[in-house]
């Protein structure tokens, strides 16, 4: 065949225009702006203690956000993560008293996986809508957590020493939950960028029919992201229990919204196919800093919620500005 017809020139990348810059670096811009504002508002903000504190506070949400990212990449949504975290929290606290830390953590993570397997299976194989299915799972998991704990906080006590040591301890000044969070983000980022699994998850979110007609077993992949989300939500529950020493069925109320907000602030598209782990990580930090700023500025709790919503919308507007500029 004539090679003259082939033109695969290795052309230089065209210089980025404003909308591309916003799309690529918008999330980081938000973060930088927030840090500058926060640092100028409070001398405490940039102290090591406060920074560590912020990171520790976001460690639970961040695990849920990673799971949420995988789900959102396939064009799904998982509203059950907060409830599954609560289930994880009470399960781990109860089991640890009888079976020790290792078995308790393993069974709890399996429980989270089971929740994801049920919703994911219904969504992937029976084609139920993700929103409603995980909404149902949200009340089921919360209900299970309340049943298991009889509605009472479960104090782990001495038997939970290993777990609480994880929650309170640190390595070289970095709390263990923060290390866990970092590792999870690194793994997620690697999977999404370099592996077949990550590529196919994103591809399914972008055009599921084209992927199916390429012979890929789409349903299994779709189900798997809910399993990942369930496991990470249960892990978030364990982290919560490890930090307080108490398993509670009341944690994680509304956490699904924080997780979704973090993913979206990180520039992922709710229509699937677009988003990454690094930006989601920044999204979680942005949320953490906003909450921290308001605490430092002594904004009362109720007001904080209003501000939080306003700031999230502001961050979204910045993300969407890139789309408007493109037209």
């Amino acid at each position: 065949m004539g090679t003259a017809m082939t033109e695969i020139a290795q052309t230089a990348r065209p210089s980025l225009n404003v909308s591309q810059i916003l799309q690529r670096y918008g999330t980081i811009a938000i973060l930088v702006a927030l840090v500058i504002v926060a640092a100028s508002m409070s001398d405490v903000f940039l102290t090591e203690r406060n920074v560590i504190n912020v990171l520790r506070q976001i460690s639970g949400t961040s695990l849920m956000a990673v799971g949420m990212l995988f789900v959102i990449l396939t064009r799904g949504i998982d509203l059950s993560v907060g409830s599954v975290a609560a289930l994880g929290s009470v399960l781990s606290a109860i089991l640890i008293q009888k079976y020790g830390a290792g078995a308790s953590i393993a069974v709890t993570l399996l429980g989270g996986a089971a929740c994801g397997l049920v919703s994911g299976g219904l969504i992937a194989f029976l084609k139920l809508p993700p929103f409603v299915t995980t909404l149902a799972m949200m009340t089921v998991a919360r209900g299970l957590a309340l049943i298991v704990s009889a509605g009472q906080p479960i104090v782990m006590g001495d038997s939970g020493a290993a777990v609480t040591a994880f929650g309170a301890g640190s390595f070289a000044g970095v709390p263990y939950p923060v290390i866990l969070m970092t590792v999870v983000f690194l793994i997620a980022g690697t999977v999404l960028m370099f592996t077949r699994y990550g590529r196919l998850v994103k591809a399914i979110g972008s055009n599921v029919e084209a992927v199916r007609l390429s012979g890929i077993p789409v349903a299994w992949y779709t189900m798997s992201v809910y399993v990942i989300s369930g496991v990470l939500a249960a892990a978030a529950g364990i982290v919560s229990a490890s930090r307080t020493g108490v398993g509670s069925a009341n944690i994680g109320v509304g956490a699904e919204l924080d997780a979704i907000a973090a993913v979206v602030i990180g520039g992922a598209s709710l229509m699937g196919g677009r988003g990454g782990a690094f930006n989601t990580f920044i999204g979680v930090i942005v949320l953490g800093i906003i909450a921290n700023m308001m605490n430092l500025a002594r904004v009362p709790g109720y007001h904080q919620q209003v501000f939080m919503g306003v700031i999230i919308i502001g961050a979204m507007l910045l993300q969407y500005a890139s789309n408007w500029l493109r037209r």
């Binding site: 065949m1 004539g2 090679t3 017809m5 082939t6 033109e7 695969i8 020139a9 290795q10 052309t11 370099f194 592996t195 077949r196 699994y197 590529r199 196919l200 994103k202 591809a203 972008s206 055009n207 029919e209 084209a210 992927v211 199916r212 007609l213 390429s214 012979g215 890929i216 077993p217 196919g273 677009r274």
Partner: protein, 502 residues
């Protein structure tokens, strides 16, 4: 006398691209004027200028001798210009009558009056459609009728049809041509854009050919032959359109299908394709050809029948099974079923067989992948800036090549093409035909569905014709006439109402 529409010296560019470079075009009342040209020649841009969507940088638009200076589509509509889009712009959840009078629905609706007026309009086009029916429940053809009625309700004097028959079955296309004749008789000026030249030659009074943003020529239909028009469009003849012929001889049987059915529309189809053979599937839109090949590929579950590949029976219950059995499907709708448009060409091309490009931990080996895709691009003569560009950045023909690259890479020896050149310009068509022929010459078994009869005749070694989910006959090259094909494709004997062979 003033022309109904007169465009002169129209220029329009986007960024640095000169889409229109001084185009002249004129339309009389009661005239059907075909506008032809390859994709990208500027036909649609010109019509958007006429429709008030684009404001030209230079040139004048005159309607009935006046120069109205369109600023927005509503200005053009007010002047009686209606554009019937290929993707119809109807509110599918509303009723027929609501759609027709959408822009002028009064705040208090008299349903009886609205429905009566809608019915009168539709009747005048020679159709019987319930004005109270929901548009989503109508066939594509009937939706088009509603769109035309909507334009008539606004007293349109100029109607632009952009590829109106691309989505229609043969009978419906016939009826549409009938409507256009009615419109012409009423004094409406019709601008007709189509890639189907046989159709153009039956309906048009006058033909304007565009190329590279300029009008090449305007001719009377009676003065030219199809071949002349093709030469004007691409500078080559009909014979050359189908690419160079490669010597090939059919080998052993590769695919055999026995009595395949889905328990509904497909009622037991059997066929066999040999290595090196190109077999066409002819028939009307809706005859079940797409459904049938989707069963073979596993995109849909078959209920009855057996599939043999190289003589061995295979169970195919999912596209994954199909791919493993060596089948590749180049689907009808490239953008929705064939490609992930936002994703790089590279990713699209390797989607169907990532196995060899992935290490044991599931990591994609980028270097190996790049080498594989560069090789594919070379073999398929893909024209792309970079293989990391999104598939959406390519032209229709090159997008189709990416879909082909996917199946090349998957390595199967059965390829099924469903409308392989839909929405592809004439130049790229030739390349795709040549590719299909060379694929067959390399020993693959090839099945081609096409609604363009010329395409089947030019490409296939034999044609199987389907009607209502069954194969009704087979044509060899000596029987390649439109009449014979249609006779098998339609409920015989063909009625004069549906087949107008003149």
């Amino acid at each position: 006398m003033d022309k109904l529409v007169e465009l002169s010296g129209i220029r329009k560019s986007f960024g640095g691209v000169h889409a229109l470079q001084g185009v002249d075009f004129a339309l009389d009342a009661g005239e059907v004027h075909a506008l032809l040209g390859e994709n990208g020649a500027g036909k649609s841009t010109l019509m958007r200028v006429l429709g008030g969507e684009y404001i030209p940088e230079a040139g004048t638009v005159k309607v009935g001798g006046e120069e109205p200076h369109f600023r927005a589509p509503s200005d053009a509509i007010a002047r009686g210009i209606a554009i019937i889009h290929q993707e119809m712009a109807l509110a599918t959840d509303l009723t027929v009558a609501e759609n027709i009078f959408l822009s002028e629905i009064p705040s208090v609706i008299s349903w009886r009056d609205l429905n009566r007026r809608a019915r009168a309009l539709i009747d005048s086009l020679g159709f019987a459609i319930d004005p109270a029916a929901t548009v989503a429940d109508l066939s594509v053809a009937h939706q088009q009728v509603v769109e035309i009625a909507k334009a008539l309700s606004r007293n349109a004097r100029v109607m632009v049809f952009d590829e109106p028959t691309a989505v229609l079955s043969v009978q419906d296309a016939e009826r549409l041509l009938g409507i256009i004749r009615t419109l012409r008789a009423r004094g409406v000026g019709v601008i007709y854009i189509s890639h189907r030249l046989d159709e153009v030659f039956r309906i048009a009074d006058c033909i304007t050919v565009m190329k590279d943003g300029a009008s090449v020529a305007t001719v009377d239909r009676s003065e030219v032959e199809i071949d002349d028009v093709i030469r004007m469009m691409v500078g080559r003849s009909l014979k050359a359109l189908f690419g160079e012929d490669v010597a090939r001889s059919p080998g052993a049987e590769v695919l055999r299908v026995e009595d395949l059915g889905d328990g509904g529309r497909i009622r037991g189809v059997s066929l066999s394709v040999r290595a090196g053979e190109i077999v066409g599937l002819g028939g009307l839109v809706g005859a079940g050809r797409t459904e049938f090949v989707r069963l073979v590929f596993g995109a849909e579950r078959a209920q009855t029948g057996r599939i043999f590949i190289h003589g061995k029976e295979k169970t195919i219950r999912s596209p994954g099974d199909g791919v493993r059995a060596g089948i590749g499907l180049v689907p009808e709708n490239r953008k929705e079923q064939g490609l992930i448009l936002d994703f790089p060409i590279r990713v699209n091309a390797t989607m169907a067989r990532l196995g060899p490009l992935v290490n044991r931990l599931g990591f994609v080996r980028r270097a190996r992948e790049r080498a594989a895709v560069e090789d594919l691009a070379k073999r398929l003569r893909l024209k792309a800036g970079s293989l990391n560009d999104p598939a959406s950045s390519l032209s229709g023909g090159n997008q189709q090549k990416v879909v082909l690259a996917k199946w090349f890479h998957a390595g199967g020896d059965i390829l099924v093409f469903d409308e392989p050149t839909r929405g592809v310009d004439v130049g790229a068509k030739t390349e795709i035909y040549s590719l299909i022929k060379s694929l067959a010459a390399e020993g693959r078994a090839i099945l081609v569905i096409s609604s363009e009869h010329l395409e089947l005749f030019g490409l296939c070694d034999r044609i199987l014709v389907m009607r209502e989910g069954e194969i009704t006959g087979e044509l060899g090259p000596e029987d390649y006439t439109e009449e014979k094909l249609l006779r098998l494709a339609m409920v015989s004997p063909a009625t004069p109402e549906t087949v107008d062979m003149n």
